[in-house]
Each structure stands twice: as structure tokens, then as C-alpha cells.
């Protein structure tokens, strides 16, 4: 049974998102990291990149495949978790601690699920 913390919001593409003072932080959920398997590489985005809600933020690679991470918001990337570059497995180990990117200047947010709705959504996957 995947871990789904209460205080976060979720997307149907299995990202989590939190907000503080206009800065949005994005990562992959426990369900996602379990489905992907051991992550061996991450193509991190760069500070200053523009992202669009519902479009690709970056991609991650497991042993077997490449998968897109989608941005839940439209805005500009203000910070990237560089530690993931050498240790992508942190996403497997602590999916809610190993944030991927922070976005500011957000002008659009896609429809998000709360924890209960995300759990229900995963139950049908």
C-alpha cells in the first residue's frame, strides 16, 4: 500500500506538489517510484526554464525505461534539487523528501487531487 501524506496535493500522473509563499515544490509519489523501479538517472531541468501545467518538467530513467515527469503548474523553475543528479535513487528511498524542482511565478495550476482522492485514483490504476 503506497504512502500518501495528507498535507500534499497530487496529480493523476503521480506527481506531488506543495506550496509555500508562492513557491511550488514538485516531486514523484511513492506509487510512482514503486511503479518505475530503481531509478538510475534523472535529466534535471535548469533554473530559469519555463514550464507549463500538464507538460513535461523533466524525465527520469529506471533500469528498463525512460519516463516523463509532468509539471502541475505553469511558471519558472527557481530551484532544482542538484543532489538527485548523482543519487537519483533518493526518489525511490524518500519520494516525498527528494523534491525535484521548485516553481515560482505560477500563473496556472492543473486540477489537483487531495490525498483521499489520489488514494482512490491509485486504487483504480
Amino acid at each position: 500500500m503506497a504512502n500518501v501524506p495528507e498535507g500534499l496535493k497530487y496529480t493523476k500522473s503521480h506527481e506531488w506538489i506543495s506550496e509555500q509563499g508562492g513557491t511550488y515544490t514538485v516531486g514523484l509519489t511513492d506509487f510512482a517510484q514503486d511503479a518505475l523501479g530503481d531509478l538510475v538517472f534523472i535529466n534535471l531541468p535548469q533554473e530559469g526554464d519555463c514550464v507549463t501545467a500538464g507538460e513535461t518538467l523533466c524525465d527520469v530513467e529506471s533500469v528498463k525505461a525512460v519516463s516523463d515527469v509532468f509539471s502541475p503548474v505553469t511558471g519558472t523553475i527557481s530551484e532544482v534539487n542538484e543532489a538527485l543528479a548523482d543519487s537519483p535513487e533518493m526518489i525511490n528511498e524518500t519520494p516525498y523528501g527528494a523534491w525535484i524542482a521548485r516553481v515560482e511565478g505560477v500563473s496556472d495550476i492543473e486540477e489537483l487531487l487531495d490525498a483521499a482522492a489520489y488514494v482512490a485514483f491509485c486504487g483504480k490504476e
Partner: protein
């Protein structure tokens, strides 16, 4: 409708992530994950269910002649109790499958083929075996487990008489009692590690698996899935049919010349291979020199010119490098050649390196 090996329920109960492969439902990994399973084989031991593989018996007074007619290697010198790798070619010299022939006796050959090609191979053998050879597909009655890794011998010795275990690579012993189960044990594998492939009848598969898991516990044996099987064989630069060779690639282009005996009187494909001469494209090993992972079906460039394409690629868990195999123009195939690989639109720097990428101690 997918098939199940005799161990399907065991895989499910052990938490295996089941995927379809070559018409079978098999675990790609267990909860331990591909990286841990790969490392277990490199440092301790791993156990694989490979019961999906095909097994064909060729028997009769012309069995040897049929084997030599069908397969590129020379089996006239093969001794009873030994095995030899070879390629089944079509008349154009393209590869139908790669396989291993076990000699049970002068008139009895046990041929192990890829699961994905079993029906194709059997039909080809039936159509082309010489009169006096009986060809029988016995796959459904046979289960196969692969026990691979440096602790394999210790583990197997717990439940079988060590004096009966095959001492040489590519040799085998029949009717070895493994935890009371009648098995054929060969010293062989598809991982690049020391290990055994163990064949038994399908009804004994579950008991054999259980006995090996139990015997292996003190040595850190892990059950392993298809994901680790692929990363292990790729790290050891072992070809996989459908990737490094197919019916449009000759065994010489796949760098399998060691098992192609053009000096034999004849075999299917020999004339085409002789007519083609030295291959103009060849399989090479590539390592990324820039950050990124190379995958299969990606174009390879040297000096801005396309020289070929990758056939397999992954992040090698033990070597911790992005590795790939490719078939490239012979003119640009020298070890040390700096190349670029088109990885989803980005040109990743890489280099041609000697194979195998990994060799065990």
C-alpha cells in the same frame, strides 16, 4: 493467451512483478528490485526461472549430420557430456536463433533455444533435418532454473553431491539428484558469472525452486527476474536474439564468428556467408562518456556521419556506467573510436570499447 511456467504461483506469492515475455507471464523483478538482484548475482548468487526456454531433441542415426546441417558450429568433435553454442541460419546467412547443443550420445542431441523462437526453430528443424533424424519439441515437460553467482557451487553442494556437479564450463551431468529431484546440471549461464543451469521435469519445478531458495539463504541467494537477466547478460556483452541478431543479420556481423565453421562441408547459410565475405558491419560495445543512458534503436555517429545503430543499452548496475551494443560500419568499428549516439534528440558522447564490458574473476 499467455502461458505460465510451473513456478508462476511461486513468483506471485514472492511478490514478483509479472510481465508478458515471449508468450509467458514471468517476473521482471521481485520487491528487491533489479539493481539488488543484479548485484546479488555478481557478489553472491541469484536464482532465475527460465522454464520458458525451448528444448528440442534430435535423435537417430543421422542426428549428428542433421545438427551439423542446421547449425553453424562443428559438432563432430563434441563429446558426450559437453555442450556447444551455435546459430541456426536461414539460407541467406541471416540468424533464425542462437542456441546451445548438449550431446547426450552419438545419436542423441538436446538443443536449448530461445523461448520467443521455439515454434519457429522447431518448424525449421523439422523441415530441414535429414531423413533418419527424429525431431521432438519436449519444452512443455521441462522446467529450467539458473543458479548464477560466485556462491553457486556452495549452494548446490548443500543439496546435491558435489562430486556429481560438472567441473568444466560448458559441461553437464545427467541424473544428478538435487534435493531428491532428478536433474540435468550444466555449468553454463547467461550472466557472465560462474553458475549452473538446472533442468528437471515440470512437476518437480516447485520443489526444486524451494530447495534452492532454502539452501541459498545462508549465502544471500536472491530470486531474480527478467530485468536483472537482461542487465547481467548485457554487462557481460552476451547477445540477445532480436537485438544483436535477427534474420537480417549474419552471425559474422554479430561477432559470433567463433561458432561459425565455414570449413565444414556444408550447413544452411554457408554459401551465403562465403559469398558475402568479410562483414562490412560488425557488433561493438559502447560506453557513454557524457551523462546519460544509451538505449536500443538509437543512431550512432562518427565524425558527423551515421555509422549504425544501437541494439541494446542500459545503465550497467555493477560497472555503474551507461553501456550499449551496436552494429556499426566495419570501417568505424575500432576500439577507441569516439562516437555520438542520438539519445532522444540529444547527441551523447560515447566511445567504442572492448567486449566483454565485464568479466568475472
Amino acid at each position: 493467451m499467455e502461458k505460465k511456467t510451473p513456478l508462476y504461483e511461486v513468483h506471485v506469492s514472492e511478490g514478483g512483478k509479472i510481465v508478458p515475455f515471449a508468450d509467458y507471464l514471468l517476473p521482471v523483478q521481485y520487491p528487491t528490485g533489479i539493481l539488488a538482484e543484479h548485484e546479488a548475482v555478481r557478489t553472491r548468487a541469484g536464482l532465475f526461472d527460465v522454464s520458458h526456454m525451448g528444448e528440442v531433441m534430435l535423435t537417430g542415426p543421422t542426428a549428428l549430420a542433421s545438427v551439423n546441417h542446421l547449425i553453424t558450429n562443428d559438432y563432430a568433435t563434441l563429446k558426450t557430456g559437453r555442450m556447444r553454442y551455435g546459430v541456426l541460419c536461414n539460407e541467406h546467412g541471416g540468424c533464425i536463433d542462437d542456441l546451445i547443443v548438449y550431446k547426450f550420445g552419438d545419436e542423441e542431441y538436446f538443443v536449448v533455444v530461445n523461448a520467443a523462437n521455439r515454434e519457429k526453430d522447431f518448424a525449421h528443424m523439422v523441415a530441414n533435418a535429414l531423413p533418419g533424424t527424429t525431431v521432438e519439441d519436449i519444452s512443455d515437460g521441462i522446467a529450467q532454473l539458473a543458479l548464477q553467482g560466485p556462491r553457486s557451487r556452495d549452494i548446490l553442494s548443500r543439496i546435491a553431491d558435489p562430486a556429481r556437479l560438472p567441473e568444466r564450463y560448458y559441461s553437464f551431468s545427467r541424473h544428478v539428484s538435487v534435493a531428491g529431484t532428478d536433474c540435468l546440471v550444466s555449468q553454463s549461464g547467461y550472466t557472465g558469472e560462474f553458475g549452473y543451469e538446472i533442468y528437471t521435469s515440470a512437476e518437480n519445478a516447485v520443489a526444486l525452486w524451494g530447495a534452492l531458495i532454502e539452501a541459498g539463504e545462508e549465502f544471500g541467494l536472491l530470486p531474480c527476474g527478467l530485468g536483472a537477466r537482461d542487465t547481467l547478460r548485457l554487462e557481460a556483452s552476451m547477445p540477445l536474439y532480436g537485438h544483436e541478431m535477427d534474420d537480417e543479420v549474419t552471425p559474422l556481423e554479430a561477432s559470433l564468428g567463433f561458432c561459425v565453421k565455414l570449413a565444414k562441408d556444408e550447413f544452411i547459410g554457408r554459401d551465403a556467408l562465403l559469398a558475402a565475405g568479410e562483414p562490412r558491419r560488425i557488433r561493438v560495445g559502447i560506453v557513454a562518456t557524457d551523462r546519460g543512458i544509451i538505449r536500443e534503436h538509437q543512431d550512432v555517429y562518427a565524425g558527423g556521419k551515421r555509422i549504425g545503430a544501437t541494439t541494446s543499452g542500459t545503465f550497467a548496475p555493477h560497472l555503474r556506467q551507461a553501456i550499449a551494443m551496436a552494429i556499426v560500419d566495419d570501417a568505424h568499428s575500432a576500439v577507441g573510436t569516439e562516437v555520438e549516439v542520438d539519445v532522444r534528440g540529444r547527441h551523447l558522447a560515447a566511445r567504442i570499447v572492448p567486449m566483454p564490458f565485464y568479466k568475472h574473476a
